[in-house]
Symmetry: C2
Subunit: 195 residues, 2 copies
DNA sequence: CAAATTCAAAATGTATACATTATACGTTGG
DNA sequence: CCAACGTATAATGTATACATTTTGAATTTG
């Protein structure tokens, strides 16, 4: 609900109404809120309860800087650790994404895009890295989903992805890192205006 | 209690006894457990409750690889973003640590050591980076605390720290990154045997 | 004798009740 | 008329009670 914008950033999360909405009692809801607080999606203030975490432009930029570094590391590891089979699965996701691109299906394109990045990170076989990346990605989901790209930027993003996949298939770590790095550099330009 | 080893890795965490021990009811304890689960310190299995997360040697190594990359990023940012005052505070912590080293006070040495690394990361002024680093560091606390170094390795670690601080004071990013990187490379050698 | 089964004890998952604290509105005093 | 206060309402924080599931051991069965 936070990611999809149903709960607005900065707004308080009242337990009572949300319990009714979800059909559960306060106990499991509160446990979930504590979990989300640790994930960084909600703020907890003593005696005032939970509110939807609000990210400033600097927060977003900082997260993108961090996720870029994480994906660079993941890219290097992926070239070493990823199996041929795993790499071909990434290629398959990429082909799937191209279909959505040609159809102009932005939602499924976006979802597949995220899955590709997660899949590349998964190739690192570094569980901590995978977890931290997933946590960051979920926080960025909302803003990146809102950030709508123009036609030419979209085409550029697809080209960057193509370069990524090819570098991965050649297991060319420096090319992959460069492609990932450029891609996430541009990600900031794409969301800069909406935050 | 997890970090200090009072709760053994892999062992289940029974709510009842722990509630008595802490003097609280199950509700707030369970909320805390959900929080710790998100932090990665405990595992939650449906219908079986919580258990202390157990890290394999590969888990530890992967975390050290990740924390090394994070500190490298932090080091670069620290040289750009850190104020002179903040840097001098790090120097002060370093001097404090040297006293503990000369006294042979391992516990306080170790604590100050951690504070220095956190302080350098804080100089990045990147809140996400600070949080992720802190979370990882807390998971590694237990193993790194157990990892007891020999006299010569200890001396080497102190020398590495000295290099770090000097590079930071010169705002020499590449020197700082190299020093941090070497330091964390050796960290694995120091804990390798105990995991 | 081993394996499967049954049943009681105890654990987790959820709901509800109560205490405490914050909040908002109406009232009173300057 | 505005500000400050007090009270009522509603929120959060915690404890407890109840339902369901797991667990372990004794018993039964092949």
């Amino acid at each position: 609900m936070i990611i999809e914008g149903e709960l607005e950033p900065g707004k308080r999360i009242y337990e009572g109404p949300l319990c009714e909405r979800l059909g559960v009692s306060r106990t499991p809801l509160r446990e979930a809120l504590r979990y989300l607080a640790s994930e960084g999606l909600v703020d907890l203030t003593p005696q005032r309860g939970a509110s939807v975490r609000q990210f400033s432009a600097k927060d977003i930029q900082d997260m993108l800087v961090l996720i870029r570094t994480l994906e660079e590391l993941a890219g290097r590891l992926a070239c070493e650790e990823g199996s041929d089979e795993e790499i071909s699965e990434v290629r398959q996701l990429h082909n799937e994404m191209l279909v959505y691109y040609r159809e102009g299906n932005r939602l499924d394109y976006y979802k597949t895009n995220q899955r590709i990045h997660s899949a590349i990170v998964a190739l690192s076989h570094n569980e901590s890295l995978i977890q931290v990346h997933a946590s960051l990605q979920s926080k960025l989901k909302r803003v990146r989903f809102i950030g709508h790209e123009g036609k030419e930027k979209w085409a550029a993003a697809v080209a960057e992805h193509e370069a990524m996949i090819r570098a991965l298939e050649r297991r060319d770590a420096s090319a992959l890192v460069a492609a990932l790095s450029a891609h996430l550099e541009h990600a900031w330009e794409r969301v800069r205006d909406v935050v």
